[in-house]
Subunit: 497 residues, 2 copies
């Protein structure tokens, strides 16, 4: 099996397939590029069909105790390096799925600054209730890490565990703020009726307020966040949900430059409907949450003008504006935060983060968003100091290696290559999107699932989003020479369909 | 200030206050005891009033970026050792609050097995989506750690981030199971109506089902878990909640041996009402969740017979039985899991864990509880391999040092000492509870908040629960000589009131 497989498609740096013709000129660029990981393989390495025998056996073992039906592949992280992810059978795939996940690229940092530092060991064995018993260096960890990269206009953070609860605690802050305004300020006490009714989950203590999200949006899978998730039924089925509104998200036509007027009208329509819902929904809207790029929902983009309009609407109607940067944040779009692309006059009220930060929470700037009493926004752990240290390490590496600039430049290069593929194979590369958005690039293709299923056989680990999109989520250390390897393989996949 | 303070109450091993008289005989026991941490202080050490000047300055710094109103004290973990928690001013307090939190006592493990091991470093920098791209050793980490201590009747786990989401994913499993039964089995497909309605948060796709919890219960602060939390209004106010039922939790009278009949009737009353609610609540009950000891709600206990009855009721009515061991689990009650005290004929359907495990999730045994399709019970991280390794280290230390047995023995000793205090000071030590429940001990006292406020001044870090309880939550390494120090100081606090 392995032998047959090997002969059917074998890619080595020394024996490349004919590349997309137009790539020839870029080989010079590639040669001039200094690799972040000099000891990376020069190309994907395939030893067996995937999954190979060792991975199959290990998966069977894991299945005894853990749900493996979501499994993409079991990974051998000890043999993974840089942009290459290894399995147990010696295969090393170029990794287009992992930007939002592990931070393997920290492995080249000196141990004293890295994951084995004394500071880290202390954070691991002393996991306090951060709200009650933080370590004395928690302020410094925040200031030199999480808060150092706070979005413009924000200087405070509530830390959390993951994207879902980061969004939910932002919702909680929004509800508390909304009711506080209704009461007439933070010094106003709760009424006896509120104190009594909340214990039986009824208004006014547990009020029928809502968070508005957008069709196609994804904000998590816990009960509050899932009520704002609108990407796919499989996430939501059988789970009780709150009666909250969803606004339409613009459905843009591509190429953008050929549909300027039409797209502007579409965005206008969505904004109008969003404002109508805010004004009319029977459960008053305390906040609007939106992703800068709808990720799970299919890599759906909107223009800065749309988001500027949304910010205006939320201000006008006195509802909070939460930007969910769980997937888009930390450099992937060619800016540190994706909403930096919008040039807002007034910053968002809250910005949530997770994934590439390897820790989670929400930023804010307005002190009125601080709940008026202690223990209203609280939980035992409130995050993890060990993961906060990892985020700090990530930030240091991003700065040292200029990785946001790298992502912007690599993204432009990669996008140009995909534009050429779109010209050559228009039926297989449709609605190419993510121009000037770093490596946050996607396109639609009619045989998407077939392509994804074959991708590992040409040495790439790549994923989809929505119903028909292939989305790219490389690490921040993805460079132009990796883009070349990817473009060659995407073309190969298209030709083999 | 510090000088005044020092002279007002100074406790040193060499200059003890007159102890509770009955402790004299136990000094021999204490002497024979081998300390787990020989280099611990022999008694609390007080250098300044608390908070001292350094802690005050550091708290002011933290306040710039982080909500400090929940703060109990900033801790200097580098100078904390064993059962003693240090602040920046050189104070070292006997710690009765931290059992559910940090795992500082791992610090005596050799580095190769501890928080700086190569395995840990790998887990820290490779934080994959555990559902999609687990590391090849994830099965081994589970089997030698989390699953090694799985409750009786359970062999599978869904891992999570913290107690709140552990409970919520257990609820999700319960709702999916309930609807699957209604549909007629796992192979039945969702209807078109379900697929459509769930995207607008309506039944039947998002059904109006419920989870029943108990008055006084605490199960977390996210939207689903908060809907089952019924301990205090401050956790719930202003946050929308689901229309779910709460059953009464037994309000037992103490001492138990003097109110046998009365308490049995009270438990019977609560069980009857629980069953009535399950049968009649307008949003059908998919599962019941209960804590073995209501912790946040005031350390409320019920008898094994009550929980056996609850298990019978849930079976009879075909609803799932979830035991929330987030606070009670991992040894504190003198058994590894608190529900081990019940001797159930049929194990719970799911058991959730967090806190002392330093990682979270739910155990289960029945394969029918596995959702019928992938991506229904899923999130990006699904826990943290680094924290799973810490739990494994905790389990190894618990076994090596026989810490569950220690907790049981220390708990009995401590309880006996508190019984003596209750006899001496009946108005200050009321409703003493937690007999044979390890160190999970609490009592009511009319001037609770005043006592807690003064506790640090006698060298102990101690907390409350509910409206009037003082609760003990020492670490698993709390020994009889620590109990002596505690008893002396509790008596001192009572005398000074």
């Amino acid at each position: 099996m392995a032998a047959v497989f090997r002969s059917s498609f074998k890619l080595r740096a020394s024996a490349r397939l004919p590349a997309v013709r137009t790539l020839t000129t870029t080989s010079q660029l590639r040669a001039a590029e200094k690799p972040f990981f000099p000891n990376e393989p020069s190309a994907p390495q395939l030893s067996t069909a995937i999954p190979g025998p060792k991975n199959q056996a290990a998966t069977a073992e894991l299945k005894e105790a853990f749900d493996v039906r979501n499994l993409n592949m079991l990974c051998d992280y000890s043999n993974s390096i840089g942009n290459y992810i290894a399995d147990l059978d010696g295969n090393k795939l170029l990794d287009l799925c992992s930007n939002c996940l592990h931070s393997r690229w920290l492995q080249q940092r000196p141990p004293s600054k890295g994951a084995a530092s004394p500071e880290m060991v202390a954070a691991l064995i002393n996991r306090p209730a951060l709200g009650n018993f933080p370590s004395a260096d928690w302020a410094r960890i925040l200031k030199t890490g999480i808060l150092k990269v706070a979005p413009k206009g924000m200087n405070q953070v509530f830390t959390a565990m993951a994207g879902s609860d980061a969004n939910e605690i932002a919702y909680k802050a929004a509800f508390m703020y909304y009711r506080q305004q209704q009461r007439g300020g933070p010094e106003k006490e709760f009424s006896e009726e509120e104190l009594q009714s909340t214990m039986v989950n009824k208004a006014p203590g547990s009020p029928d307020l809502s968070i508005m999200s957008f069709k196609g949006g994804f904000h998590g899978r816990l009960f509050g966040s899932l009520s704002t998730t609108r990407s796919k039924p499989i996430h939501k089925l059988d789970i009780p949900a709150f009666d909250w509104p969803q606004a339409p998200f613009p459905s843009l036509k591509y190429p953008l430059e050929e549909h300027v007027q039409e797209n502007a009208l579409e965005e206008q329509r969505c904004l109008q409907e969003a404002e109508r819902l805010i004004k009319e929904w029977h459960n008053p809207v305390a906040a609007v949450i939106v992703e800068p790029i709808q990720s799970e929902g299919g890599d759906n983009h909107a223009s800065p003008a749309f988001f500027q309009g949304l910010r205006e609407i939320t201000k006008r109607n006195n509802v909070l504006f939460i930007v969910d940067e769980v997937q888009t944040g930390v450099g992937a779009t060619g800016k540190f935060w994706a909403h930096d692309h919008w040039n807002l006059e007034t910053p968002p009220d809250m910005v949530t983060f997770s994934k590439k930060a390897q820790t989670a929470g929400y930023y804010f700037g307005n002190p009125a968003l601080l709940p008026n009493k202690p223990y209203r926004q609280f939980n035992t752990w409130m995050g993890d100091p060990a993961r906060a240290l990892i985020f700090r390490g990530i930030i240091e590496e991003i700065e040292r290696l200029s990785l946001v600039e790298n992502t912007a430049a690599t993204g432009d290069y990669l996008y140009a290559g995909l534009e050429r593929l779109a010209q050559q194979y228009p039926e297989h590369v449709q609605n190419l999107r993510g121009k000037n958005q770093g490596t946050f690039i996607a396109w639609d293709t009619p045989k998407r699932d077939e392509m994804l299923a074959k991708a590992k056989s040409v040495g790439i680990n790549i994923g989809g989003s929505g119903a028909s999109a292939i989305r790219l989520r490389p690490m921040l250390i993805f460079q132009k020479h990796h883009a070349d390897l990817l473009l060659e393989r995407v073309e190969k996949l298209i030709k083999d369909l």
